[in-house]
């Protein structure tokens, strides 16, 4: 059986967690290729519509970080 690789969408705040992900990148931290970053200007921007549409499109998990 193929290994389950959950597709995760991370909604990251430009000012903190997106910046942190940049630093993680600069430190060459390993990330699974099934993790996807979407930049937003504040984690408070995320509404139910965005979350549901993300699941409907096939995401296995969502990370809202800010």
């Amino acid at each position: 059986m193929e290994e389950f690789k959950p597709k995760i969408v991370g909604f990251l705040c430009n000012w903190c967690t997106y910046a942190a992900a940049d630093m993680a990148g600069a430190a060459k931290t390993k990330l699974p290729s099934s993790f996807n970053v979407v930049r937003i200007m504040c984690s408070g921007r995320v509404d139910h519509n965005l979350l549901l549409t993300t699941f409907f499109n096939g995401a296995d998990g969502i990370l809202v970080a800010g």
Binding site: D22, G25, K30, S33, N36, D47, L50, T53, N57
Partner: protein, 553 residues
């Protein structure tokens, strides 16, 4: 005109090119089929952000008549503005461009080259989808307001106002007390503060409002809308300013009757400030019955453990008071009870030496209790001691000015763990706050003497002078939110959510409206609106869906 999109993949020297297959990316993106009527121009470049790279992009946009652009490179936090500025030199609207991060979130974090290449293609695909959903946005220019609001009329506020006011820059100074001057005006050396205050009152470019507090403020650096209120008449005054200086100073910890300080108003126990007031009014230090003291105890550090920091100024002024006493009554015993002596400035050590050689005693203690004018203490060896005096002078901890919580909330700035205004960076940006255009100076930051307060005031003045040049233009945020009136139910949830006060309620039409000049485009209101009637421009749901769709394909 049909859409023509340029997709530029950056190698970033070996940074990206070493970890993904750039040629494969260019090839596969060129072959994408789902943009039927749209023409794609796909190219790679060694260093897009270099002078040559920017020239390259500019020429590509112009010669190909591009309508949209995607730059697949590093983090937009690094170079979004670089490429926006390139767009501004061309016919293309900068908001029809987007940046895709294939470096930090792809090439650098996915070790397998093939997998990283696939991921980069996926991210770029999402970016292309997104850019077609973007809309042209147009920046507006606004005249930056050079005026400054100073809150607090102590030495820090006065010094700020005097150095900022000019024919081109009005300073509004608000002071909650009936007179400006602050704590220094209650001191023993009034010459300099009286001179400064007189200068202030005579300066035609400083507008002073006493008995006044800040009522409301919205906006951002260069464009603050301010309302102040006279606390006696309740009269409101409105004006605009480009920057704010918080100079609200400090209060003193009330020690009377506290656990370790057992005394009443009848006892000859005086705070430093009470002695300063005596000196200033009567030019001498006497007991409450008007008689000279015969033995004085000086209690340092009252409340230091409780507040958790050293107040920096107290050892200094208790020494100063010892000096006054020595001059007035050369023969009486004076004894300081000290936990840890703090003599920060260059002049203080010699003053201390002078007092010591003049017979002033320094008793180092672990703990200390006051019972009226009697001091009970444990010395540093653990031995208990008791000394009876007929006058005690004590130094209280400096604490945040009352009302700091409310003021910080209005100004949207942070307070530190002690309740003082928090520095943007304690070491390298100590007079800025967490909110651009709002500065804090003097004891509002924490314990400070007059010299510190003046230095900080002048530093804020320098910053404002270079940041807020009269006649300068500012460009407010264009990626703002808008409320679709037809869907808005008027529930006003968004009004509570917006931290910047950018939303107001239109009573007549019973809907909420975004004030675009104040909105920062954070999108918090979008997430809060139960009826989905708010759009955050450049981060609309359809735009984000395009990225998401590709991400989870």
């Amino acid at each position: 005109m049909s859409d023509k999109i340029g997709i530029f993949v950056c190698e970033c020297g070996p940074n990206i090119a070493g970890r993904v297959d750039i040629d494969k990316i260019v090839k596969e993106i060129s072959e994408l089929k789902d943009f039927n009527d749209k023409e794609l121009v796909v190219k790679k470049h060694k260093l897009l952000c270099s002078v040559g790279g920017k020239k390259f992009l500019e020429e590509e946009i112009k010669s190909n008549n591009l309508t949209h652009m995607v730059c697949a490179a590093c983090s937009p936090r690094d170079h979004d503005t670089t490429f926006i500025n390139v767009c501004k030199k061309t016919q293309m609207n900068p908001y029809l461009y987007t940046m895709v991060n294939i470096r930090e979130h792809c090439a650098w974090v996915i070790p397998d080259k093939e997998e990283a290449t696939k991921k980069a293609i996926q991210y770029i695909h999402g970016g292309i989808n997104r850019v077609f959903y973007q809309e042209e946005l147009f920046e507006k220019q606004l005249e930056s307001n050079p005026d400054v609001l100073v809150i607090g009329g102590g030495i820090a506020g006065i010094e700020s106002a005097l150095n900022l006011a000019s024919e081109e820059r009005t300073v509004y100074l608000i002071e909650k007390a009936p007179e400006p001057g602050g704590k220094t005006m209650q001191g023993s050396n009034l010459n300099f503060i009286r001179q400064k205050t007189a200068k202030l009152l005579n300066n035609p470019n400083v507008k002073i409002f006493t008995n006044t507090k800040l009522e409301n403020i919205i906006g951002f650096q260069g464009n603050f809308e301010i309302v102040i209120k006279n606390i006696i008449s309740n009269e409101l005054t409105e004006f605009m300013a480009g920057a704010v200086i918080i100079a609200t100073g400090y209060d003193l910890l009330d020690c009377k009757g506290s656990e370790y300080f057992n005394f009443t108003d009848k006892d000859d126990v005086f705070s430093g400030l009470e002695i300063e007031a005596l000196m200033s009014a009567q030019k001498k230090i006497v007991k409450k019955n008007g008689k000279a003291p015969s033995s004085v105890g000086m209690a340092h550090c009252a409340g230091r453990e409780k507040v958790g920091y050293c107040s920096k100024i107290c050892c200094n002024y208790l020494l100063k008071i010892s000096g006054y006493l020595k001059t007035m009554y050369p023969d009486i015993p004076i004894r300081h009870y000290v936990k840890e002596l703090c003599l920060p400035n260059k002049e203080n050590q010699s003053y201390y030496n002078e007092m010591k050689s003049g017979g002033v005693e320094f008793q180092y203690v672990k703990s200390l209790n006051l019972n009226g004018e009697t001091v009970n203490y444990t010395d540093i060896y653990g031995n208990a001691g008791e000394s009876a005096h007929d006058m005690i002078v004590y130094a209280q901890a400096m604490i945040p000015a009352s009302g700091s919580n409310e003021l910080a909330k209005l100004l949207n700035t942070d307070l530190d763990e002690f309740g003082f205004y928090k520095e943007a960076h304690l070491k390298i940006d100590p007079i800025s706050t967490s909110n651009d255009g709002i500065f804090a100076v003097g004891a509002a930051h924490g314990p400070a003497d007059v010299t510190d307060s003046v230095i900080q005031a002048k530093a804020a003045v320098a910053k404002i002078s270079v940041q807020l040049i009269p006649g300068q233009k500012i460009i407010p945020e264009v990626k703002v939110s808008e409320i679709l009136e037809a869907y808005c139910t008027g529930c006003q949830t968004c009004l509570q959510i917006c931290k910047y006060g950018a939303i107001y309620f239109d009573d007549e039409r019973a809907v909420s409206v975004v004030n675009e000049a104040v909105c920062r485009g954070c999108g918090n209101c979008v997430g809060s609106c139960p009826s989905g009637s708010i759009r955050s421009k450049h981060f609309t749901n359809p735009q984000l869906f395009q990225e998401v769709k590709e991400a989870v394909r």
